[in-house]
Subunit: 453 residues, 2 copies
């Protein structure tokens, strides 16, 4: 028979088993952490009617959509989890309780140009809190706690949650009389890290934007406000009273900062950062980015913010919300590239490999059943191979314990068990063997899935 | 702004939060159980190159495929998890250890005619064990144990795993000299339950199939062999010695039955059933079906079998395997229709709803943080609403405990906590409140996700 060359499409991540187990571990921690904060899991179709998914229309995204017809229906694959959430909330509005807190971990599709580290199919892990008409600032204050918990539970230590408030930015440009140029200014100021203050100033005062030199100075002075949270807030106080929007934003930011400690977020993992804007149309209040201290080049690994109108394309209902998103596939790829995934954490598909050494396998099968009843992941190896081949298999799957069961063991009511790391071999009864294995597994599972050098 | 009517495509299941939590619970139990048997999770792209996915080509399935082009690439959505597994194993052959045991829970796509209870996007939950060249019968013997554990852990009690062996069927038709007609005969015999023995006999002896009346009698006698496992095996012994294939199949079936008890499968949940054939081309050894005793009309809820060549379209390597699949979306739908999903099992998105009764929320936030640190899912309710609206919200999300924190409680160092089911309210310190909540949650989580009337 002529063969088809098996391949996986470029831009589609397909992991080998050990890496997949690490990915599952990460997803499991995300699910657990989000649940702890009262978020409920959601699962929406990957395919939606194009007219629904693309209600907002236009933009860079539309070119990247996977769009096709089936029968006479115009279909598209979702390109994020926000639009499906908007559809879900508008569609099921009367069945939901608000604030509605959901998390969703799912694949999305964007036909980007294929290049290393860019994916066309990738997981996003999103949480959102949706209010009906209103949504209290407390929800915005809670988000840094969730980000902090997620990354801490994953094992990341050196990261910082950077927070700003869009009302402060908008209010600041308002009090300078530059509201209409605010978009252009923010886009330019965003380049500060890359091109430096002088070039930003030149662009701001150039013909295209046309800000006066004094205003440019003022803008640069404003966005370079730095220090700890108290210092930044105190510097911002100096602008109070000149714009209602600014004052409201400052009030919100102060509230977010105020509850940080009670939410369990250490001050050194949090920073008010006036350079963060996060998209110009959508966000209206607190905005978040999260950066790895040792890897600023990676950019934000968890971003989001407060918005006022989740579902305006589908309903007249005002549905404000706040949400954050982790680009999980990209994060996983980056962690893997940086060697930051703990190889010991989820190294094997089984805890115990049972090698029967007798013709009749009844005792070996019973032993496997006993391990499984005790919650130990046990695999029976029944293949007719030489002993050496069996041990090679054990090595290859990375199983921590191999159990041998021969006539000798069976007649003595004992079990031989080899620790594949230390090489130590014991011959004990089942319950003593089980205890040894369980203790060993507990020790091995101490580490976290992400490790820093 | 003109609005787009939000909708979800027909044939695409989108669950409300309480149902979604039950679905997540089921998936979590599947993952846990499969892991216990040494299966490793796998995740493959939903999109594959059409030439790869449709290598086998033809058939009813191809018409149902979601197939489209993006750029100049001919793409298809996967329609099962077996073809992607075949591709994965052929592609990553040198990186895998055999036997390779994987589970995959994922969505697949088939453009079926839309009708109630039929889905175009649905989850399958598959496990497979793939050997390199050979695969021991022990793996086939283990499958009923996994099926039994999965459904028992889900809470199903009245179900039966029905097992046959294709070699017995093929061997039987061989010893009657009917090998070439075996396919037609099995397709006809498969209608026994629906049309009865007389009509089956008429079809068998009709012009199209052309079996002699004696042979038809023999066939009907054979497939009506019944009784407990020992009785069926003993009846089959009567055919031994006339076909090598039959004898090999009988040997395999006897081995599967032999280890049942050691694998922890009660005899009353298992039956040898000679009417089961499961597809005519693919399976070559043991075949499995699982039926709900009270709902035979639903058909098999978990099926599969042994095959000899997983990836013949991609590689010359002989990769025999054994696998089973649960049509998870359909099973969920059926359980839901039958009222068999336990409403108490995963009824709320949070364990505790905290209602702050003070202006300053620091203490309420600290309390939420303390609950979460103890692993209790806590939600803070910060909205400015009347007390009654807050309690309505608590009812609507079905939270089991509501905690009130006012000035009185704070100054006394106490917490008011109301059990939303019993109405009982306590005013205790945090650790006593926590203990009460944890005890209550343990009691509530006793039931299983599936309940039988």
């Amino acid at each position: 028979m002529s063969k088809i060359q098996p391949r996986t499409l470029s831009g589609f991540l397909e992991l080998l088993p050990p890496a997949q187990r690490q990915m599952e571990e990460i997803m499991s921690i995300l699910r657990e952490t989000y649940s702890l904060y009262g978020f409920t899991p959601l699962d929406t179709p990957l395919i939606e009617a194009s007219e629904v998914l693309l209600a907002k229309g236009g933009g860079e995204t539309e070119k990247q959509i996977y769009r096709f017809t089936k029968g006479d229906t115009d279909l598209s694959l979702r390109f994020d989890l926000t639009v499906p959430l908007a559809k879900y909330v508008a569609l099921h509005y009367s069945d939901l309780a608000f604030p509605f807190r959901r998390y969703q971990i799912g694949k999305v599709y964007r036909g980007e140009r294929a290049q290393r580290g860019r994916f066309r199919e990738f997981y996003q892990a999103d949480i959102d809190i949706i209010g009906d008409g209103k949504l209290d600032i407390l929800n915005e204050a809670e988000i840094p706690a969730i980000i902090y918990q997620v990354f801490t539970r994953l094992g990341l230590q050196r990261f910082r949650i950077r927070v700003n408030n869009r009302k402060i930015l908008n209010g600041f440009y308002e009090l300078l009389g530059l509201s209409e140029k605010a978009g252009d200014i923010m886009r330019t100021v965003d380049k500060l890290d890359k091109i430096g203050a002088e070039k930003v100033k030149a662009l701001l005062t150039g013909a295209e934007i046309g800000v006066s030199p004094d205003q440019a100075e003022e803008i640069l002075r404003f966005i370079s406000i730095q220090g700890d949270n108290a210092q930044v807030l105190s510097a911002l106080e100096g602008y109070r009273g000149r714009s209602e929007t600014f004052d409201a934003g400052l009030q919100e930011l102060a509230t977010v900062v105020k509850y940080l400690a009670a939410f369990g977020v250490p001050e050194d993992h949090f920073a008010v950062d006036l350079t963060i804007a996060r998209g110009l149309d959508y966000y209206t209040g607190t905005v978040y980015e999260t950066t790895m201290t040792d890897h600023p080049e990676i950019g934000s690994i968890c971003s989001g913010g407060r918005y006022d109108n989740l579902a305006e394309y589908y309903t007249d209902k005002q549905l404000p919300g706040v949400g954050i998103s982790i680009g999980l596939t990209r994060l996983f790829y980056v962690l893997s590239e940086q060697g930051m995934l703990n190889p010991q954490r989820t190294g094997a598909s089984a805890d115990v490999l049972i090698l029967p050494m007798t013709e009749d396998l009844t005792q070996a099968v019973s032993l496997a059943t006993a391990f499984r009843s005790a919650g130990v992941r046990a695999q029976l190896y029944g293949e007719q191979k030489k002993f050496k081949a069996k041990m090679t298999y054990a090595d290859k799957i990375g199983v921590p314990y191999v159990v041998f069961l021969g006539e000798d063991e069976i007649s003595a009511g004992l079990v031989s068990c080899k620790d594949m790391v230390t090489g130590e071999q014991t011959k004990l009864d089942f319950s003593a063997t089980l205890a040894r294995v369980q203790t060993g597994l507990r020790e091995r599972s101490q580490g976290k899935v992400i490790v820093e050098a």
